[in-house]
Subunit: 405 residues, 2 copies
């Protein structure tokens, strides 16, 4: 008997007909003799409606009450999904996060899972029931409802798969899997059949947006193999799993482009010990997360420091750094909004040299200027002009022959 955890996102359960279609798919799996746990999100749009009502009442709602409010979205879906399965003659029972035994820390709106008591789910599976669990939510163990933040339903699925020792964890979504590049930009982008956690992490955090990094990290930590696939067709998706030797044969797994960053240049800073540290301390205190960092110290004893931040935070970053420099001996801050970050990712890079050379010369040949470079063990990222992002993605995709079988 195969034990499967399936997660369906908000688009997949967006209306009555889609809920029925998901139920039909779940029935197939159940009738084939599998044990099935289904994790669902709120219908698409519902969470935003709830947030809209909350903000109309209180512009700064308390986190505990936001969790109380938002948990409603998933609770509606689990009940409707159970009814849809019953209508097809499939025994099924819905469970809120709390009822599913998901215990978290008390950090409302961004809770972390502490443990999962699977007894009730096991009992239901033993009776042949499909168990439908509300994604994105748990309880703090003091009966308060907690939620996990964005991408929380994926986390529920992966965590349940780990706790239940599931044979398979399937993340059904509105894309068919993870691609070598964004298919809307690169026409011959190819669906990747297998990818390692680390590659997926770099691709996800670099703007592929298939899943939040947190769920992938959780899967890696607990060794949960999972598949990302479409809920709208029957095609196999992308398997995300532990690194195996053969994966290293592929030097570059994919190309990711992140268009939501801005570049911050700090110049004319007097180069004394700790000045960079003070800047990043201040940004951290202001809640700005910094990504790429490059520093050069010139001969005249003044340093130039460049880094990237989420574009939404660029003004806050500018203000924070300006305030600091004013107190700290001077310097200039400049923001560049029109940038993109392009990255190539692959665990094969570790054992293959020359990746950087191929990347840089491909970009040069295409006339794309590189503003910043940063590298990690399995990734090389460059900052380029926003307008060049698409041509760069196509050029690099082709330079690494990613469309080839």
């Amino acid at each position: 008997m195969t034990r499967i955890v399936q997660k369906y996102g908000g688009t997949s359960v967006g209306d009555i007909d889609r809920i029925k279609r998901v139920a039909a798919r779940v029935r197939e799996g159940h009738d084939a003799g599998n044990e099935i746990v289904v994790v669902v999100s709120a219908r698409s749009g519902v969470t935003n409606e709830l947030i809209g009502r909350a903000l109309a009442i209180n512009p700064v709602p308390e986190d505990r009450e936001m969790d109380m409010l938002l948990a409603v979205g998933e609770q509606e879906t689990i009940a409707l999904m159970a009814m849809a399965l019953h209508a097809l003659g499939v025994p099924a029972v819905s469970r809120t996060g709390s009822q599913a035994g998901i215990v978290t820390d008390p950090a409302h709106t961004r809770a972390r899972i502490v443990k999962i008591d699977t007894q009730r789910i096991e009992d239901s599976l033993k009776k042949g029931e499909v168990v439908i669990v509300a994604g994105f939510q748990g309880t703090d163990g003091q009966e308060n409802i907690t939620t996990f933040g964005r991408g929380g339903s994926d986390l529920t699925a992966v965590a349940l798969a780990a706790a239940l020792k599931a044979d398979l964890c399937q993340i059904f979504t509105d894309v068919e899997g993870v691609y070598t590049a964004d298919p809307r930009v690169v026409a011959d982008a190819r669906k990747i059949s297998e990818i390692s956690y680390d590659e997926m992490l770099e691709l996800a955090s670099l703007g592929s947006k298939v899943m939040q990094a947190r769920s992938v990290e959780f899967a890696k930590k607990f060794g949960v193999m999972f598949e990302v696939r479409s809920s709208f067709n029957q095609k196999p998706g992308t398997i995300v799993k532990k690194e195996v030797k053969s994966m290293e044969d592929v030097v570059v797994r994919g190309v990711a482009v992140d268009k939501d960053q801005a570049k911050v240049m700090v110049s004319q800073v007097v180069d004394k010990p700790g000045s960079a540290a003070r800047i990043f301390q201040a940004l951290g205190d202001a809640g700005v997360s910094v990504d790429m960092i490059v520093q050069n110290v010139g001969r005249n004893g003044v340093a130039n420091l460049t880094f990237t931040v989420p574009r939404n935070d660029s003004l806050r970053a500018e203000r924070t750094v300006k305030d600091l420099l004013d107190d700290d001996g001077g310097g200039e801050v400049e923001i560049f909004d029109s940038i993109a970050k392009l990255s190539v990712v692959g665990i094969g890079m570790r054992s293959h040299s020359g990746v950087a050379a191929i990347l840089f010369s491909a970009l040069a040949n295409a006339g794309v200027n590189i503003q910043l470079i940063s590298t990690s063990e399995i990734k090389i990222s460059v900052v380029i002009d926003l307008d060049a992002a698409e041509i760069a993605a196509r050029t690099v995709h082709s330079a690494f022959n990613l469309a080839g079988a």
Copy 2:
């Protein structure tokens, strides 16, 4: 310090502005130094939307899943109400039925309250917090969500008032209180300032529709005094409380008209022992609740049996009785849909005679024909023609001088 339980129905919390208005009213009570527990319903319309979605997915949804689904409506309101109070600077915390410690039997969609563990509410009140409780719902003690059925939020309020030994229980609704008659029909109907549980029960179950009988019965059983009043103005409403001697000075408290019944006449039934019992047994098995019953046995040994049922059930009642008579020696069944039941109610009737005489002669003078009569200790009901209902209500209201101060 006064401890107050306030209940606001779906119309009173129907949209963002109304939620804010209720919050402002709650703040007044809180700022005046009272301990306040607020019970709220789902926003008006929400429950019906949820039911609509459920039935579109499954025409016969399982009761447990309906409870899971419907509980969502109140949970949304408690979170929004807490946010509205926070926006006014009032400390407040929301609690689902389960979190409020409301434990029920496991009868989904019509659960009965078994006990209330008030510890968490007491803790919050001690801290000066307003506690906002989701009406209509509890838990079966096995973590399943249960709901109470129609009028369930009133029940939550009354039960909490009992468990918390509240000084005051206020049911805020869209009417200003209980009237001597329906003000839309009887122009000089007067708001009743005090009424006994039994009178309220008879008026409620006879179609005054201010509250479901169940909540009033619960209040009577646990001696909870409560006030029915409008959430849209500051006028005092109607206090419902234990019978006191002075209440008997009023012979008739009010006139109620129920237009939702039908009369069933069963004639030519061979009068043998148990024939009536078999009819009512069959109706009970068919889920038809019977109200007034009158039987006459004629000289020729055949019985005529007349009773009233909810109009929605009249066809089911006809079919049930016909099937039985066919098996049981014959008889005729006839349905009369165009009837109304008019009742006068008052605990003062017990000690005053002549009420029936005044009622019957008033109706006779107005040319209203009486089809059936039934009496209890504090009530006289008559069945009349539906078309005569309004003139009858006005006539009787005036005959008992109910408009007088």
